[in-house]
């Protein structure tokens, strides 16, 4: 990563905050309030365990949605809106630029979750953040590679990612337990179903390292494919 690009990271973070960070905060707060509000209203007393259970419930809604918002148009917006014209007339490599953008978005996403968790601690019950942040990070990284690849490939990446997500869930439910080609297809479909057990991290549980490796490895392969697309495919 060249020095000029590294210095540009602060601008990318500003863009994230303005274009996505605020939306993530608003959605995170809105969903949290719908769960926390009624419980507070009836005077529920929280313990650390019940607070963690509540976080799992909220995060199962927020983490995925937030990741989708964070990924939306990561690369495709620049192509669609023509912003690439000036950006890449400068001495900047497209794969390096978008790799850094991915890293910046990841950092921004985690900052949003840290802030939301801080607010949760103030309003509900303070919770040790490592498990929650790790869960949020794994959700982002597990989907990130696929989202990166799709955004490098098509202009309307958000619906495409939604289609992949929903299609995978649908196929997994339809093909579950079958043999032959269906089993092969199941094996190569995005391992989205593996995201669910990750929530155990929030309640202090553990997750099989192989599950994490499979999720991250699968995502990394698609990330690499996205970088190849950026290197090889004409941007205009």
């Amino acid at each position: 990563m060249s020095g000029n690009l590294l210095r540009y990271a602060i601008w990318q973070l500003r863009d994230f905050a303005r274009e996505r960070g605020i939306a993530l905060m608003v959605i995170g707060l809105a969903i949290s309030i719908t769960f926390i509000g009624p419980m507070k209203a009836i005077g529920v007393q929280f313990t650390e365990n019940s607070a963690r259970q509540l976080i799992v419930t909220i995060l199962s809604q927020v983490a995925l949605l937030a990741a989708f918002i964070a990924f939306n148009g990561m690369i495709s917006n620049d192509r669609k809106l023509g912003y690439y014209r000036f950006l890449f007339s400068k001495p900047v490599s497209m794969p390096a630029y978008y790799t850094q953008l991915f890293a910046v978005f990841f950092a921004g996403y985690l900052i949003v979750f840290a802030v939301l968790l801080g607010l949760f601690g103030l309003v509900v019950f303070p919770v040790f953040p490592i498990g929650v942040i790790t869960y949020a990070a794994l959700v982002f990284l597990s989907l990130g590679g696929i989202a990166f690849f799709i955004s490098s490939l098509v202009r309307f990446d958000w619906p495409a990612l939604g289609g992949v997500f929903m299609g995978t869930l649908l196929l997994r439910s339809v093909l579950a337990g079958r043999d032959g080609p269906a089993a092969i297809l199941l094996a190569i479909l995005p391992p989205i179903h593996e995201l669910l057990p990750l929530a155990g991290l929030v309640t202090g549980g553990t997750v099989a390292p192989l599950t994490v490796l499979w999720l991250l490895g699968y995502s990394a392969c698609f990330f690499a494919a996205g970088l190849i697309v950026l290197r090889r495919r004409p941007f205009a």
């Binding site: 060249s2 020095g3 000029n4 690009l5 210095r7 540009y8 601008w11 863009d15 303005r18 274009e19 809106l81 023509g82 912003y83 690439y84 014209r85 000036f86 950006l87 890449f88 007339s89 400068k90 001495p91 900047v92 490599s93 497209m94 004409p234 941007f235 205009a236």
Partner: protein, 303 residues
């Protein structure tokens, strides 16, 4: 410095329909040259520029800048580029946009603010620096685009319709800016509809139409000696004798005549005869520029 070698670009739609945007285009641009690219709408100018920036890959043939593929050159050195379509995030402020581009261009942190101030001053954007891009007029946006292209002293500059949207004052100033770019080691390509502008700024102009290079015209004086041209002669007296001396002269009214000469020496000879014959010649101007005549011939030949 820049080479197009038998470049063909064919766009294919999902339905299998193909459109040839550029066909067998070959051209070399020397270091230190200012080259114009002229052509009617849809001639393939924008495709050529996208190929030169590496945003498109040729279907066949190759494009090279300083001997390497465009993206390789740009990722290493960068180029000064002004796009016809001014695509900057509308939520950015003008000064921030320049600071961002200066950062990406690799201007050292310590010098970024100073350089941004310099181009803001040079392009007269001072009063607009805090405005968002979406609040800028077409002309101011064009000046901002030019400012970001000038941020760094690039060896290659590509200016696509650079005076589009500029008022006459800034069009004039723009010419001065481009004149200052005329120096050894700096290669400038200007794509424009404005033939007068290209005539003034470019040493050569490539005329393209329907994706093909029709001809390359030198805009220098020597070339003017070689070709036929229509001249407009205005006389202050003796208009009746002009028609006798030059029978082919076309009276356009108000003491003005349009006359076709095959060369500049023939023009001078006719003027000598007019003056000797008692005609008071007030002015002689080309009815059309050399480039305009060449353009009409080149484009007319294919349309």
């Amino acid at each position: 410095m820049i080479e197009f070698n038998s470049v063909t670009k064919i766009y294919k739609s999902l339905l299998g329909r193909s459109v040839t945007a550029v066909e067998e285009f070959s051209l070399e641009v020397a270091e230190g040259e200012i080259l114009g690219i002229a052509g009617p709408n849809g001639a393939g100018k924008s495709t050529l520029i996208s190929l030169l920036l590496g945003y498109l890959e040729p279907t066949t043939g190759s494009v090279r800048i300083d001997g390497v593929r465009p993206r390789s050159y740009i990722e290493r050195h960068g180029i000064g580029y002004l796009s016809e379509l001014m695509s900057i995030n509308p939520a950015w402020k003008a000064q921030d946009a320049l600071t961002r581009f200066a950062t990406l261009a690799g201007i050292a942190s310590a010098g970024t603010a100073r350089r941004v101030e310099e181009v803001i001053d040079q392009l007269g954007i001072d009063e607009h620096r805090s405005k968002k891009i979406k609040a800028l007029s077409k002309g101011n946006l064009q000046r901002l685009g030019l400012a970001q292209a000038l941020l760094r002293d690039e060896r290659v500059m590509i200016l696509d319709e650079p005076t589009h949207g500029l008022d006459p004052v800034w069009t004039q100033r723009f010419r001065g800016i481009v004149e200052n770019l005329r120096m050894p080691g700096k290669t400038v390509i200007i794509a424009s509809h404005n033939l007068d502008e290209l005539q003034r700024l470019a040493g050569r102009v490539a005329i393209v139409d329907r994706g093909r290079l029709q001809r390359v015209v030198s805009t220098g004086y020597d070339q003017a000696n070689e070709i036929a041209g229509v001249y407009r002669i205005r006389v202050a007296g003796g208009a009746d004798r002009l028609a006798e001396i030059i029978p082919g002269a076309k009276d356009t009214g108000g003491g003005e005549f349009e006359i076709t000469f095959q060369s500049v020496p023939e023009l001078n000879s006719a003027l000598a005869r007019l003056i000797a014959g008692g005609v008071m010649v007030a002015s002689v101007v080309p009815a059309r520029s050399v480039l305009e005549q060449q353009f009409r011939e080149a484009v007319g030949a294919t349309t």
